[in-house]
Structures are given as structure tokens and as C-alpha cells.
């Protein structure tokens, strides 16, 4: 099996924006884009499989088994916002070559559906957390839009690891513009607060009307866990790392 996209439904979209949120630091990307999928009632139309994902299968509810995969959802705007392709999934690729291969496959798929803009979402680790949304882009124009929507330009020298970064780096080879929005987080546990901060910027940028209060309950729960953990010295940060194919990075 090669890295490939399995199309579930033929869909025609008008210059959709691709928004990616695979698992990463504090799950900020996945939490954000999964929330959007649900809030918008977006529909799944394709899946991505790759031998570069870790070599396990996932047990869904009811004992049903499936490979780790990426999922593409589409949402048709009424015209006030752009159409969207929303990508979420279970994991990232395990090697440099795998990461390049998966990111290339995602961009080709988006391009084939007419996408000209890519937005990737993730976490941005700072010691004490914070509420900023950092942004970096291949395009000055996109950057300005994000800043107008409340984001802060990412400082020099802080690399963006994994697919959230590679999609941007590779987008320029395909003629697409791309930006990432990274929510500040302490990074120890899944951080729905950072996700909400990112979504505020994202929805404002795109003119999307999405009620974000649905995240408040899990934000409260996360706050309680953080408090309970505050006495404990945490060695590990919840971020994505290649683990030579073992175990789930995130069981959420």
C-alpha cells in the first residue's frame, strides 16, 4: 500500500480553503478542526491511508477496527465565507520521508479540488501557557489577515514541526498560499482553551459564524486537571513524536 487518498464521494467546491488539524502539541490542531467539523456539520468525502502511519489499528466503539487514517470533510458556504476542506486524523507519519510524502499527498488532493489557501492549526508551547495565537505564513497577505483577526506574528527561529509546518513549506511548490495558527499552551494535556483561541482567529479570518461555547465545558475540565497536576512536576509534554511505530500517540 502506498500513501493514497480514497475518495468516498465526488464533490465540487468553489476555491475551498484547506484546514488541517492532525494530532500534535496538546492536540490543539485536532481539537480545533474536529470542533469545526461538528459545529459546521461538515461531511466526510475522503480518507487518506499511508504505510508511514504507525503500524497499529484503532479499536472504535463496538469492537470495530480500522487503520489509522486522515479524514477529509467538506463544507459548502452560503457565500459569506469560503467553502472548506477540513482534515483531521489519527496520527502523523513516522519519518522525514513519510512526512513529506503525506503532506504532498494532502496538497495534491486539495489542489485537485480547487484549493488555493491552506490553513494549518496546532499548539505553540510557552512555559506559562498564555492566550495568544501565533501565526506564520508563506504569504504577507494571509499574515496580515491573521493579525487583523487577533493573531501575533511568530518570532524568528522557532521551527514548526510536522505536517502543520510541512504543508506550509510545500504549499509554495504548488502555487497555494498557506498559514499556520498556533495556540499558546503549556502542552501537558489536551488543551481545548488553546483550541478556542485558535478558532476565534480562524473563524474571524474566514468570516465563519461558529458558536465556540461548546468548548467551554472541556476547557473547565482541563483547567481542573491542570490544577490537580500543578503540584506534580511534569516531565513529559504532550506533543507528537515519532515512536518507531509503537502505541497510540494520543488516545483521546
Amino acid at each position: 500500500m502506498r500513501t493514497h487518498v480514497k475518495l468516498l464521494k465526488r464533490v465540487r467546491l468553489r476555491s475551498p480553503v484547506l484546514i488541517e488539524g492532525l494530532p500534535g502539541l496538546a492536540l490543539v490542531g485536532r481539537l480545533s478542526v474536529s470542533y469545526l467539523v461538528e459545529a459546521l456539520g461538515a461531511e466526510k468525502f475522503a480518507e487518506l491511508y499511508s504505510p508511514h502511519f504507525p503500524y497499529y489499528v484503532i479499536v472504535d466503539g463496538d469492537g470495530h477496527i480500522r487503520l489509522p487514517k486522515g479524514e477529509f470533510y467538506y463544507w459548502r458556504s452560503d457565500g459569506r465565507a469560503p467553502d472548506l476542506i477540513l482534515m483531521v486524523g489519527d496520527s502523523q507519519a513516522q519519518t522525514s520521508e513519510g512526512q513529506y510524502e503525506v503532506a504532498t499527498c494532502v496538497l495534491e488532493f486539495a489542489k485537485k479540488h480547487g484549493a488555493k489557501t491552506v490553513i494549518t492549526v496546532g499548539g505553540y508551547r510557552t512555559e506559562g501557557g498564555g492566550h495568544r495565537v501565533m501565526c506564520a505564513s508563506t504569504s504577507k497577505e494571509l499574515l496580515n489577515m491573521a493579525v487583523s483577526a487577533g493573531a501575533t506574528v511568530s518570532p524568528l527561529g522557532s521551527p514548526i514541526v510536522g505536517i502543520a509546518g510541512l504543508l506550509l513549506g510545500l504549499a509554495s511548490f504548488t502555487g497555494m498560499d498557506a498559514i499556520c495558527l498556533l495556540g499558546e499552551t503549556r502542552g501537558h494535556i489536551p488543551d481545548p482553551g488553546a483550541a478556542k483561541n485558535v478558532l476565534r482567529v480562524l473563524t474571524s479570518m474566514l468570516g465563519l459564524e461558529v458558536d465556540l461555547s461548546g468548548l467551554d465545558k472541556s476547557i473547565e475540565e482541563a483547567r481542573e486537571i491542570e490544577e490537580a497536576l500543578s503540584g506534580i512536576e511534569l516531565e513529559e509534554v504532550l506533543e507528537w513524536r515519532p515512536e518507531r511505530g509503537r502505541g497510540p500517540e494520543y488516545i483521546f
Copy 2:
């Protein structure tokens, strides 16, 4: 050398069920399927080789040397149970890509022989051990059959690592149904008791008549070792892991 199957004998089978038991957690899979091979008097008809297996050779008795490999045995039923293809072997592949490649090769081989159902066997780690056999499947029907035979549906979120999982995940691409049966085990040493529990479910599911009492002596021995070890804190669990090609995972 590419991953390939070397056919030793041409065999025609009627919709055989593929049962896989490569080394994994507490060797439950290998113990189970090896026992079946012997108890049924199944005959070897093919071998699988792969450059993704670890780069050593195995010394059999009498100073004879051979590559690590997978082995396929066939068993023809008298009609009350399905025909079987039984797969055992020395090792699993060392990387994500290797795991996908080997699993794909196994499924293609089984499909070419008319298989429509795949059963994988392994261990399921629980702190205190236990006697349950957990199951997860690509098919509701297979899952019901396993539950009727005494298995418990695997809970949400517990991934199945290695070929026992991947064969299931990839089976759906080939039009085959697949299920895994995982025997509860503490996982510290090879666990023939877990193997017996799995075989009870497996033989009942397939209508196989196999005397399982042949495992009792090694179950007793394992119990004694567990007792002797009970004072010692064990750090390591006996499970399969990629080790960058060094050493045998299991010398049994």
C-alpha cells in the same frame, strides 16, 4: 530480495480461513497457532521472506542455519469446519513500511488461495492477567460469532499493534473480513494459558475439534515460573518490539 512468498507445494483449498500467529505479546499468537498446526497435523506449503525482518539468521538444531521467515500451513477440513491456512513465523517486520508490506503480502497470498476470512491471534495485557479473550473485528457478524463463542468485545481506544492489527486494517481493502482474538495475559513470560483460552474461542467459532489438553503441562510450568517471579518486580513485558534488527525477540 523483496518481501515474497515462496510456494513449496501447489494446494487447492475451499474458502480457507487464514489464521495468523506471529510472535507478539507473551507469544500468545505463536503458541496458539503453532499448537493448532501440530494438533491438526497441518502441512507446510509456503514460506514468506522479507528484508524487513531483523538481519540475523537462526540456528536450528544440528547447526543448521536459516533466515527468519513466516510459514504457511494448510489443513483440509472434512466439511464440518472450514479449510485453514495457518501462519506462524519467527519475527515481525522492523518498520512501519515493512509491517505494511509484509501484511499486504500475507493478504495477497491468502486471497489467491480463496480466503475470505482472516483471524489473527495475540495477547492482551492486563495488570493482573485474567482469562478473557478480547475480540475486535472489521465485521459485525464475525464479532457476534466470537462473542457467542465466549469472547469479550474489546473496549474503545486500545490499539492493536503489529501484524495482528494491520492484517485486520488492511483486510477491508481486499474484500476480506477479519477478526482478532487476544488472550488476556500479564505478559511477563510466554503464556500458554492465554493461548488455551484463545484456542477455546477459536475452535468453537470454527467448529474445529481439537484437544487442548496438550497445553496443560506448559501451563503448569508457566504458573510455576510466574510464582517464582512473583516477588521480583518485573520491568519488562515480553512483547514484540522493533529492535533495529538486533537479536532474536523470542528464543523459545
Copy 3:
């Protein structure tokens, strides 16, 4: 995406010398060749991309994002020195195969532009530092030139790791001669002093007239940092290593 060179400008050069300075021990190579690029006013004419580079993107100033890459600059001599192709970049490849692939790609690019000589630049770790420039070569003649310019022949048995070494080893397959110049360094921090020592030899060998005093300020700063660190036991040496795709090796 495969490892490839993206040509930005068609350039005709007369038997140029390729000088490589990717990140490595104490950044000696990168500091040296970057200084040359600036001092000579060399112009960029090509970029090298590879899926073997680490899977992150770099945030330049102003929130602009780009893939890690190699950069080729050219400089046309007035005839007293050879024309130059200067290569700098962000990272080295992450695996043996990647290193061979990138090095081969660099040599093919240089050969296509008529290069017959390759010079690689890096650091040479010695406990107490020192001011020597060690050299090793595929060609007795180049070695003699370097020694005449003040370099010391590298002793037996000390391997040269990474692209600075591989370019030499692979050059012989392409009919090019190659030499490396390695500045002695303690290796704990970026070492502009070692870079200056290397550049003295290099410019003398090639008959380049370059004012090296521009490095003096950062040499002084590095000396101060070394002094401040002198009481602390440093476990880590600043050298290039594959890190399975994570993080920037050098943010400088």
C-alpha cells in the same frame, strides 16, 4: 518530492570551485561559507530541497515560513582566482541513504556547471581547541596546496562525518578532486574563530582577496561566552546529528 535542485537563474561559470558549508560541528562550515557569500557579494542561483531534511519548517523574520534547504551562490572572479559556487543551508540529511542522495545531487549540480574541484569546510574537535586547520583530500596536489597555505594533514583514522566527508568520498566517482578543511574547535558553541582560521587557508589556496576582520566582533563575543561557560561542565558538543526529524539542529 524527491531530492532536487531548483534553478533560480541560468549561470555560466568557468571551471568553478564548489565550496560547501552546511551546519556541522560548532557551525564552522556554515559560518565560513556564509561569510564568504556576504564578503564576496555572491548571488544565489539555486536551491536544494530534500525529503531527507528534518520535517519542520523555518520561520524567518516577519513570520515568513520556508522549508529547510540548501542554497547555491555563484561568484565570478576577475581571473586572479577561480569562479566559485558557494553552498550553505539549514540542515543535513537524516539517514545514511539521505546523506548519500543529497551529496550525489550536489555533485551532479556542480559538475553540470563545470566544477572540477570541491572544497568542504567544517570543524575538527580537539579537547583544548587550537588554531590549526586540518586537511584531507582525494588528491595529493590539493593537499599540498592546502599545506602550503598553512593547513595540517589530518592524522590517520579520524573519520569525517556527514556531507563534508561524503562529498569528498563521492567526488572521485565523478572525476572531481576534493579536499576538506576542518578548523580546530572545542565544539561547544558556534566558533567564528575556527571559521576565520579555515578562511585564511581557503582564501590563500584560491588566491581570493577577502577581508576577514569582519569576523572579529563575533570571535570576541564567542570568547566571552566560552569564558562564562568555563566553570560549567559541558556535556554536549554542538555538532550535527540526526535527530529523527525533530527540532532545529542549529538556530543561529
Copy 4:
């Protein structure tokens, strides 16, 4: 660059025996076969290069640089012993796939020159050392020859790691017979004593007349080092391991 053999001289041999001695445990293989090359005055006729070797270059005497490589020497018998192809080299491949690729390339080269027998040489670790030479083979006949020459049949279950093992495992696919001879060694330092023990068996098996006393001086030196080290607890065994491309495994 792909794994390939570079032929330096066309040579016609009569059913030569391939003897391999790349670096491995206590350097027994390399010491043995290098000694044979010198003692017999064998002539180099080919070199093997591979991107799976570690990514550094080696500095020979006089500042000359070269890639890690395998070397093939030939020796023409006067008829009392078989012709020989002797293989030595700098390193082994770094991954499972690389090991399979290099071993396959070696066997194809040997087959093309008419070889029907392969002998690999290495070390066999035992706690207290010892003077035995363990053997394991794909052929009962070769095994008997080794035993007659003083070797001991290797016990069950002790895997043979690296090219010394893989050449045997893969030989059966090419119609060649193969045997390995492993000299007992404590494994902490290069062990010329174990090499001498292996060479005694090897020369006896093949009817080679080689004076082995040339090893006595380095055996005495090794004994002195072992004594000096006898008070120190040694954690590391000198064996070959993949090190992700860094550093020389053995500078000898």
C-alpha cells in the same frame, strides 16, 4: 548511488570459495580474513560501495580520504586448495534492508565468479572466552568438514547477527552452500587469538598452507591489554552495531 561492486580487474577463477570477514564482534572476522589476504598475497580486484554504509569517510594515511567500502581479493591456488575470493571491509550496513541489499550484492558477485561455497567468519561471545570455533551451516557436508577440522557445532537458538549470518541465509536462494566459523571471544577488545583459532579450522578445511605465527605478537599484546583491564568492569562489548550512521565502529 546504489549498492554496487566496482570491478578493478577482470579475473577468471575455478569454483572459488568466498570468505567474508567484515567488522563484527571483537573484529574476529576482519582480523582473520585480513591476515589471510596478506599471508597469501591475495590481490584486490573489486570494491563494494553502498549508501547503507555509515555516512562518513575514512582518512587513510597521508591525509587521503575514501568512502567506507568492501574489498574483494582473489587468490589462485596451485590446485591443492580451492581458489579464493576474500572479502574484507570497513563497515556493515545500517538497517535491515541495507544488510539484505549488501549481502545479496556480495552473493551475486561471488556467483558471477563461479563461487559455490561461502564461508563467513566472526566472533562468538562467551563470558570467559575460550578457544572453541563454533560452526553452523546450510549444508550438512560443510558442517562435517568443519567438525573434522576441529570446530564445534553451534547450539540451538543462538542467532548469528549481521552479514556473517545473512550471507548464509541468503546463499540457499542462489544455490550456494555456506558455513560460518565463529571464534569464541570475551568480546571486549579486538581478539587476534580468536582469529587464529578460526584460521586453524579454516585452513585445515580448505587444505590451505598458511603460517599463522604472524598473529602471535598481536595475541600477546591483546593478552596484556586484557590483563590490564581485568580489574575494570567493562560495560561495552566490542561488537558491530548500527549507530545511525555516526562514527567509525572500529578504528583499528
